[in-house]
């Protein structure tokens, strides 16, 4: 586990997360990126302000990488944005490098699903009419429970 920050102020640049060379024993690279959508439940969205409990979020993101590596035998990197993002900006990136495609897809899916339930980050949506609100979330779980 490295000490590199996995929380990033502002939008993520997906290409930066693909720059690392593939390990020679890997034949599969799976990437998921989440981006800010311009509509939610029929309301026009102009952006999202992402809030986080930084210390706990960093720890949980690192735990997801470690747990995914153990479960799927894959090399997993996760990063999440905090602060103001606009429509189209990338808020989350999951990169998986593994021997074959099956575990790459599985680890990528597990990592994003787990992140949404275990990392203390909150979306505050901003709307075209000037209003803003925090989205309803899910009670936080431990990574091992996911």
């Amino acid at each position: 586990m490295t000490t590199t920050s996995r929380l990033h102020q502002g939008a993520l640049n997906v290409a930066e997360w693909l720059a690392q060379p593939m390990p020679p024993d890997c034949g599969g690279l799976a990437v998921f990126a989440g981006t800010v959508r311009d509509v939610h439940e029929g309301r026009a969205v102009t952006g999202i302000n992402y809030h986080a409990h930084a210390a706990l979020a960093e720890r949980r993101l690192a735990e997801i990488e470690t747990e995914a590596a153990q479960r799927f035998g894959a090399q997993v990197s996760v990063a999440h944005a905090v602060g103001e993002l606009k429509v189209g900006d990338a808020s989350v990136v999951i990169v998986v490098r593994s021997g074959h495609r099956a575990e790459a897809f599985a680890a990528c899916r597990w990592a994003i699903d787990t992140l949404k339930q275990t990392v203390p980050i909150w979306k505050e949506e901003r709307y075209a009419d000037g209003a803003a609100r925090f989205l309803e979330g899910t009670p936080i779980k431990n990574v091992k429970e996911s």
Partner: protein, 62 residues
């Protein structure tokens, strides 16, 4: 004792502030989905003078 509660997400709106100071009796414990430092803490955990307690409302990252 006096402790500080850190409010995140919608709890900032409920409390009207990012930080709330609480004066508690001795032998106070943590009650709900709360974190201290970089860990979620259990409800029975004893509190110590000067600690910062974070409210963790339901999460919505991604």
């Amino acid at each position: 004792m006096r402790i500080t509660v850190e409010c995140y997400g919608a709890s900032q709106r409920w409390c009207g502030a990012e930080l709330v100071n609480l004066d508690l009796g001795e032998a106070a414990t943590v009650a709900d989905a709360l974190a201290i430092g970089d860990e979620i803490v259990a409800g029975g955990r004893a509190l110590e003078e000067g600690e910062r307690l974070a409210l963790i409302p339901p999460v919505s990252g991604g």
